[in-house]
Symmetry: C2
Subunit: 191 residues, 2 copies
């Protein structure tokens, strides 16, 4: 890859391992609007693949039904722009299989950038990650559903991205809105 | 107001008058997750009031039930941070009544900033609006549900904000994600 290539950033929406309100590790349920909203944001910022990560067979089946309704079923004729977004979705069992799939695209093994609303010891700032992305190496940006990514993911990540600092100290954005803001900060043109 | 005051920006999510897929003016239905996501983003960026605009009695009743569940009902004890966000919601019949309510807060009559994904002849840029906001005068930033604000709103607005330019020419963000990105661009600290 060279410096003129587009940033090779992939998105992963993680349903396991994440934590619940009590900090316990769980597998969360797939949410219809997460898939739609984040796929539309991914398409807006020219991301090639939006991985939806869950090891649960019934959740994979549910997500597959949602996606195929819009990409192959009646929805694809009703709303072509929705099809273009949901076409980016690919189901994977784990972040490991996400990384393997990206490597299989021939761009090298990606680095994992985890996100955390609560913050983490040594975070990478938006501006620095934006600069690194322009070098063209592959990265996967992982978002946790429910109350966020489990510590095991944060510990194993190559980077943890700094939280979105608003104006009020309140840090409870939806994962949909957080993903959109992060894509805009990392890939948007209005800087 | 003086230059040291915080930006006086209010949000309005408009359900009438908006357009449908065919460009016809309609009143759209209130969507539960619009209220939650945009209220959480508003709270993050320290917006004082998030107006939900609809003249339809049944939709006002539905929205009122959603809000009161989280602000006064069982949800308020289950999730205090959600209560803090939904407390920002106020129902209004029209953008006119939104402006009157803001004026009644003693900050002067607000200017209306409309948003449009499709663009509009003479838009104001994010950077310029950000600068104007810092002067401390009140503004209401209006988002359209369905296929966007009706032309009558865009024509009557003091400003139309430029669309969010992604990287791909695809401009079909959800209103939830578009509102979050716009708040971050106008009020965020990571510039």
């Amino acid at each position: 890859m060279n410096a003129l290539s587009k940033p090779r950033i992939y998105l992963a929406l993680v349903h396991y391992p994440v934590v619940n309100k009590n900090g316990e590790t769980i597998a969360s349920a797939v949410t219809n609007l997460d898939l739609h909203d984040i796929a539309r944001a991914a398409k807006t910022y020219d991301v090639d693949v939006f991985y939806v990560v869950t090891p649960l067979a019934d959740q994979k089946e549910l997500a597959g039904k949602i996606v195929s309704h819009w990409t192959q079923g009646p929805g694809s004729e009703y709303n072509g722009s929705r099809k273009a977004a949901l076409d980016l979705i690919r189901m994977e069992d784990s972040l490991e299989s996400v990384k393997s799939h990206i490597a299989g695209r021939g761009e090298g093994y990606p680095k994992l950038v985890a996100t955390s609303a609560g913050g983490w010891g040594d975070c990478i700032e938006f501006g620095r990650l934006r600069g690194i992305l322009n070098a063209g190496e592959p990265y996967v940006l992982a978002f946790g559903t429910a109350w966020g990514l489990a510590d095991s993911v944060l510990l194993s990540a190559d980077f943890v991205l700094e939280p979105i600092a608003g104006k009020s100290g309140y840090n409870h954005l939806s994962v949909r809105c957080a993903a959109a803001i992060m894509l805009d900060r990392l890939l948007g043109t209005a800087r």
